[in-house]
């Protein structure tokens, strides 16, 4: 209350010595958290080392040819991952091509005050819950529900566009096309969530500015709101691409796991992840090494996509 009383209390506390045990506890806790935090880096390094070590034998035998050849022949011990790499790229990129407009359109629909707030929240919640459905359940659903349901549509595609190499085969169950569609279902929530956050962060002033010069709602969305949010959206799309490349279960269950190259999207195909899921358990000898080599390529692919995503966000981000 009075200043000299305050002083004397202060003095009491500064005079009190901290016991040594408390200092040890303080330091020990810090070191403990540091040690456990460094586990993250160690695990990451261990993953890299394990996969790299495992793939050395295959690297020595097949070199970079591994990437461009498509033989996968355990009998003659010849391995090339072209079919899987091609499948990984094609399925992930095509699924993104479908999911991006769907996801961004959905995000706009639930951020731009087009429908009542209640309904917007409900749609947002449902999209979030979709992300929580395990991939293996989606795979099961794809096998028994989705694929039979879309087969007539795929047959129609074959009918109309069968003259192009991309639809040259008749759809017979598992294949690249159903795998792409199930990937769309899996990356859609990611894209929607990130686009929604990005749109919500566009400042209200910018919207008002657009409406103030007399744009319609969609005029403002296309000309001002989307451009302002574009860097985050692109970053989110890249993250989704990384996820699509590494996605395993649902794709494995519906892609057909063919080891032969086929340009047709209606034919069975393969991806690196599904090849790993299918063969790793039963492989031995140099096949394990070849699979590790493929895993290394998958890691490099997803790593570069993720790093690019962060770079895009930082590089393109506008200051408003």
């Amino acid at each position: 209350m009075t200043s000299d009383l305050g002083l004397s209390v202060d003095a009491q506390f500064t005079l009190r010595r901290r016991p040594n045990s408390e200092k040890f506890l303080d330091l020990g806790f810090r070191q403990l958290t540091l040690a456990l935090a460094s586990l993250v880096a160690i695990v990451l390094l261990a993953i890299l080392v394990t996969v790299f070590q495992g793939s050395r034998e295959a690297m020595a035998s097949f070199g970079l040819r591994f990437i461009v050849t498509s033989a996968w022949d355990p009998v003659n011990e010849q391995y090339g991952a072209f079919v899987a790499i091609y499948g990984t790229l094609v399925t992930s990129i095509l699924s993104l091509a479908i999911a991006v407009p769907l996801g961004v359109g959905t995000a706009i629909f639930i951020t731009e005050d087009l429908i009542p707030a209640r309904l917007r929240e409900l749609i947002g919640l449902m999209v979030e819950l979709l992300a929580a459905i395990p991939s293996v359940v989606l795979g099961l659903w794809a096998i028994f529900v989705m694929e039979p349901a879309i087969r007539p549509a795929l047959e129609l595609l074959h009918h109309l566009l069968g003259w192009t190499p991309f639809f040259a085969t008749t759809p017979q169950g598992p294949g690249m096309a159903p795998a792409i569609l199930i990937l769309v279902v899996m990356v859609l929530p990611i894209i929607t969530a990130i686009a929604r956050d990005a749109l919500n962060q566009v400042p209200i002033e910018l919207r008002q500015g657009a409406y103030g010069v007399g744009t319609t709602r969609w005029g403002a969305i296309f000309a001002v709101i989307l451009p302002a949010a574009i860097s985050s959206i692109i970053g989110g799309v890249m993250l989704a691409l990384g996820r699509a490349m590494g996605e395993t279960m649902a794709v494995t269950m519906i892609i057909g796991n063919s080891l032969n190259f086929d340009l047709s999207l209606l034919a069975p195909g393969n991806t690196i992840a599904s090849m790993l899921a299918n063969q790793f358990g039963e492989a031995d000898g140099i096949q394990v090494s070849a699979l590790m080599y493929a895993a290394l390529i998958l890691m490099l692919l997803t790593f570069s996509v993720n790093v690019l995503a962060q770079w895009v966000v930082r590089r393109l981000s506008l200051k408003y």
């Binding site: 103030g212 744009t215 302002a228």
Partner: protein, 278 residues
């Protein structure tokens, strides 16, 4: 600046009366956000070719009324207007009215400079293009930037981002953007509140130029600014009402600027302009 004021005074002697060509008219306008009534029973005739200033303590509903004039409040969920806002002989809140068309005729400059994340050139051209401009775009961009007194600073970097300008320049770019679409009325919500004195002075000069062609309505918390730029001044205030959830804004007095500042009819106005509260 003084000359224009005194000239105006000479022409209308009748004190306290609003005379002139009516541009917009508010008739018993009340605006609420959800259940909260922000402004109540505003009657007011805004005059053609004049600068009208809205002054008053913050929170009394000046921005709310201003936004009501070009239906900007439509964008705020839960905002609701009662009464009539007449413009060009029509009630702007009639269900058949297109708010987009209204905003093309009644432009707006906001408190915070908000250039689009586009080039300076595009910032101007965008609005003109969506308003169906058929003339020479380069010429329009230059003319608008000149009228907003920011041409000299911008002419060498038209293809640079509008966000690369300073705050004052950004605000003048926003003014240029608003006048490029040739609106009949320009609404300005505290356009200088985020700016330094020099930028403020430049924008006031701009306003003097603009009022030859446009009707301007400006919200300001700076009374000197009202004296400097406005022909007419409206003083808003807010007071707690029984049963209300907060303070409700209302129009206290609306008259020629001279009168509001030198011989106000209301005690509250007198107190406010002499700095006794607010």
């Amino acid at each position: 600046m003084t000359s224009s004021l005194s000239q105006h005074n000479a022409s209308s002697k009748s004190s306290g009366k609003i005379s002139g060509d009516i541009c917009m008219s508010l008739q018993d306008v009340s605006i609420s956000y959800g259940n909260f009534e922000a402004v109540k029973n505003v009657f007011m005739d805004l005059l053609n070719g004049k600068v009208t200033a809205f002054i008053g303590p913050s929170g009394c509903g000046k921005s709310t009324v201003l936004r009501a004039l070009n239906r900007m409040n439509d964008l705020i969920p839960g905002c609701h207007l009662k009464g009539r806002v007449l413009f060009d002989g029509q009630d702007l809140y009639h269900p058949r009215i297109d708010a987009v068309e209204v905003r093309r005729r009644i432009g707006m400059v906001f408190q915070k400079p908000n250039p689009f994340p586009k080039t300076i050139y595009e910032n101007i051209a965008f609005g003109a293009r969506i308003n169906g401009y058929r003339g020479d775009m380069d010429e329009l961009v230059e003319r608008s930037l000149r009228k907003a007194a920011v041409w000299d600073e911008c002419k060498d970097k038209l293809q640079k981002s509008g966000l690369a300008l300073s705050g004052g320049q950004q605000q003048r770019l926003c003014i240029a953007r608003a006048i490029a679409t040739e609106p009949e009325v320009i609404l300005m919500d505290e356009p200088c509140s985020a700016l330094d004195p020099i930028s403020t002075l430049k924008i006031e000069e701009t306003m003097h130029e603009l009022k030859r062609n446009y009707t301007i309505i400006i919200v300001t918390h700076n009374m000197q600014q009202a004296v400097r730029v406005a022909d007419m001044t409206a003083f808003f205030n807010a007071e707690a009402v029984e049963g209300g959830s907060g303070k409700v804004g209302y129009l206290v007095e609306y008259s020629e600027t001279e009168e509001i500042f030198n011989a106000p009819a209301q005690q509250a106005t007198q107190d406010y302009v002499s700095g006794r509260f607010g």
